[in-house]
Amino acid sequence: MTPLDHLLLLSALTAVFTLAAGNIRSAGWIATLLYAAQGLALVKMWGMGYGPEVADSSISFQLLGQTMHWRFDSLSWFFALITVGAGFFSSWFASGGWADHYRAQGNSLRLFHSALALNVFSMLVLLASGDLLSLFIGWELVSWASFLIMGLASTRAMGYAMRYLTYAIAGAMAILMGIVMVHAQTGSFEFAALAAAVPGMSNGTLWLLLLLFGGGFGVKMALVPVHLWQAKAYAETPGPGAAFLGAISSRMGLFALILVIIQLVGIGRLVGMSIPYTFLDARDLLAWVAVFTMIFPTYIALRQHDARRLLAWHGVGQTGYMLLGVVIMDDLGSAGGLMHVFNYATYQAMLFMSVSAIMYRTGTADLNQLGGLVTRMPLTFIAMLVGIIGLAGLPPMNGFVSKWLIYRSLVAEGMPLLFVGAVIGTLGTILSVYKLIHNSFLGQLRLEHAKVEEAPWSMTLPMLSLAAIVFLTGYFPGVVLDWISALQASVGLPVLAHHLGGVHFAQGGLDMIWINSLLIAGIAIGALIFYSTGRSQRVHQLDNYAGGHFLSADVRYQYSDNFYPGLLHLIGPWYRKSFRWAESALVSLTDALSLAMQGLYRQVQPSIYLLITVVIALSWVNIR
């Protein structure tokens, strides 16, 4: 039994346990412990976070002359760490009060916990894949596990999950096509065989492979233009499930993309594949897809008034940063993109959890029906505050470091338009996360929420732990960068030289220890100045300047709906819903074709039809 076997076995055990006993009260806690045990199994493979070790699994089998095997390297380890971590925190969150609440609503806790465990398990299997065939198997397992967790909540959720499924199957088919093509070219499903065959492939073949694999993996990552499925499906997933999916699920696409396109095909080939009649090559294409993925979903998020949808749309947008960073493929950029995977997982999980906590207490995630909760749920507020600072990429949280790395590498590589695109995405993020926190936690507390309490500790503790992680990895980004440089080495990307506080770089480096200490010192001085003068007097929220108007508790005095009217007045007409239109046109086309085909099968004169068929078939043969 290798360490990898232990990990997979533990994960499978978690799935079996939750399936068998997911309904008992303490199931969530036990599952959480099991995730922690998986984390320990990962720690046993700690070396992979820092060096070029590879752990093989003793499981493998042969079929049709092909061997399927599983192994972990630094790339898998990094993603597995996030996966297990996300599983751990989500399960923790879902253990106490949330579970009772969920059950009281008539849902099956067993189904939820086992879906979560299956997700973790299938992702680990995917991450461990050692050849294209096991990659595809893992891929399908992940797709179906996500479908399960997405669809189990409600009829509406199932509708969105169905949409996901259609996209996912289409993506999987593209991948399968790619794999089959590789097999046709090399006669093998091994990674090494593909890597060896790449230099001999023509650009056309590579383009086809790139589009197939990229398209397939892109569906999971919800890259533009196949991004429509994700946000709604994630938003409707039960709280901790959404936290888990948002944190890591679509990162599997990035993992596979790095594995196949970056590690096996390689950057050299991508740059060499130019698009005729443009200045672009394959890498630029990916980079631009990434930038559009940043911009469009982020600005769709700006218009959402359901907190979960808003976050989920951001999830789509943030994928763009990761992909952009990775496809820049220098040391800074790829480190930034990969670090963003980690950072994003930490704060996105936390944000979804805080929104779930709000829903748990108030029963709604509609931003137009919340407000002023900061005095009632201060711990949840802290979690969300840390989360949005991270999501917006401001210091002192970890989100800043990864975005800084990406920006810095774009400057170093001289990619101005991508840079501007990325900044546009970030600005949109800042706008909408402020709307999120303002409309839920700040502003006027509604009368009906006056008696709301803080969420129970089983929910606040995981959030606060994540907040601590977000802050600490922002303070000491070197910890994460260690893992990432090991990853870069194993994938074949240039390795980023770094230290505990960030990167030392002759042309303007970054030292987060200094930066954060400076910021904290500055705010401390600000506090000193503030508190050194007269005592402040807390006043009631209705003691507020309203142009001389008398406010009373029943007056809704909160500015929430259509939060950015000026901006949307200008850019509102730019939302054309083109992708939605294209999607529904495709569905309508399929519907029409379907009806036509049914007409074909229902025709009333079979004999005439048959005669025609025979004549056509015979003449076809005879013409040839």
């Binding site: 210091p395 400057v411 501007v420 007269g534 006043v539 500015y559």
Partner: protein, 299 residues
């Protein structure tokens, strides 16, 4: 550099920034008075205002976040000053360069936005909504400029950017080498400083000074302090990027005051743009100029 020296620098830099910032506030009010043919405030008026505000008996607070917002607003700028190299003092410029500074400057904005949010006053929220929209508007030309400069000098270290320019004399200034970018940056500067015609988020008669609507006493005082830091930061940043930074204080001070004087003068000549017009304007001319300038820089 020994730690004592560093500590001294870190203390001096915000202090200097504050004093110079106060002078800039005074200058702004004097310029306004001159244009309107008034006498204008006395020399120490900014100090009077701040002392008065901090010495108010009643300090109306809407909760801890309201207070935290002010601390972040002031503290964020105090911290940011340590990243801005001035003659003789580099501070922490090598620990985080241009990009870090840009992000750093969003911290006070965020703090302010949070604080205003807890006031539960829609005027304040509307103001923040407009301020963030304005940020979206002016930051796009501004990041084009930032990219151009960073790419041109192949560094994001502000001290180095200044040093490179100083090595070539006046003809080596960013303004000479990248005139279009300098122009675009000036445009963005007007927005960043929130001066007319881009001050719709304050709009006193419409939304009662927007974000400041519930700020009284030391809260308002904190914002006055922040304003002086803000003017100083804008002036120094522009000077470093385009006017060769500061070799010594004698040349440095006139430069930063001149930089700040331009938007202030323009401000007094224009009425106010609506939000969407502001965005449209910012996304049109300065972006065009910036992109054109960038094209020259990149080739």
């Amino acid at each position: 550099m020994s730690w004592q020296e560093l500590l001294l620098e870190l203390t001096l830099m915000p202090l200097l920034a504050f004093v110079i910032g106060l002078a800039m506030v005074l200058m702004m009010r004097r310029i306004a008075a001159q244009i309107q043919r008034r006498v204008g405030p006395p020399l120490l008026q900014p100090i009077y205002d701040i002392v008065k505000l901090y010495s108010k008996q009643t300090q109306i607070s809407h909760g801890f976040i309201h207070e935290l917002g002010i601390m972040m607003a002031v503290g964020g700028y105090i911290a940011a000053e340590a990243l801005l190299p001035v003659p003789g003092m580099d501070g922490l410029a090598d620990k985080g360069g241009l990009i870090t500074l840009i992000y750093f400057l969003m911290v006070p904005t965020l703090g302010m936005a949070l604080g205003v949010g807890q006031c539960a006053n829609p005027n304040g929220s509307i103001g923040i909504s407009r301020a963030l929209t304005a940020m979206l508007a002016y930051d796009i030309p501004f990041v084009i400029v930032v990219f151009g400069v960073a790419f041109h000098y192949q560094t994001t270290n502000l001290a180095e950017i200044a040093a490179i320019q100083q090595a070539h004399g006046v003809s080596g200034w960013g303004m000479m080498e990248m005139p279009l970018l300098a122009l675009a940056a000036l445009f963005a500067l007007q927005g960043m400083m929130g001066k007319q015609p881009f001050e719709v988020y304050i709009a006193p008669a419409e939304i009662a000074t927007g974000p400041m609507v519930e700020m009284s006493g030391k809260f308002m005082g904190g914002l006055f302090v922040m304003q002086s830091f803000q003017y100083y930061t804008a002036g120094v940043l522009y000077t470093i990027l385009f006017l060769g930074g500061g070799e010594n204080w004698l040349t440095f001070l006139p430069k930063i005051f001149a930089v700040v004087a331009i938007p202030m003068t323009i401000a007094m000549l224009f009425p106010r743009f609506r939000t969407e017009d502001l965005v449209r304007l910012m996304w049109k001319w300065p972006v065009m100029a910036g992109l054109l300038g960038l094209a020259f820089v990149m080739n």
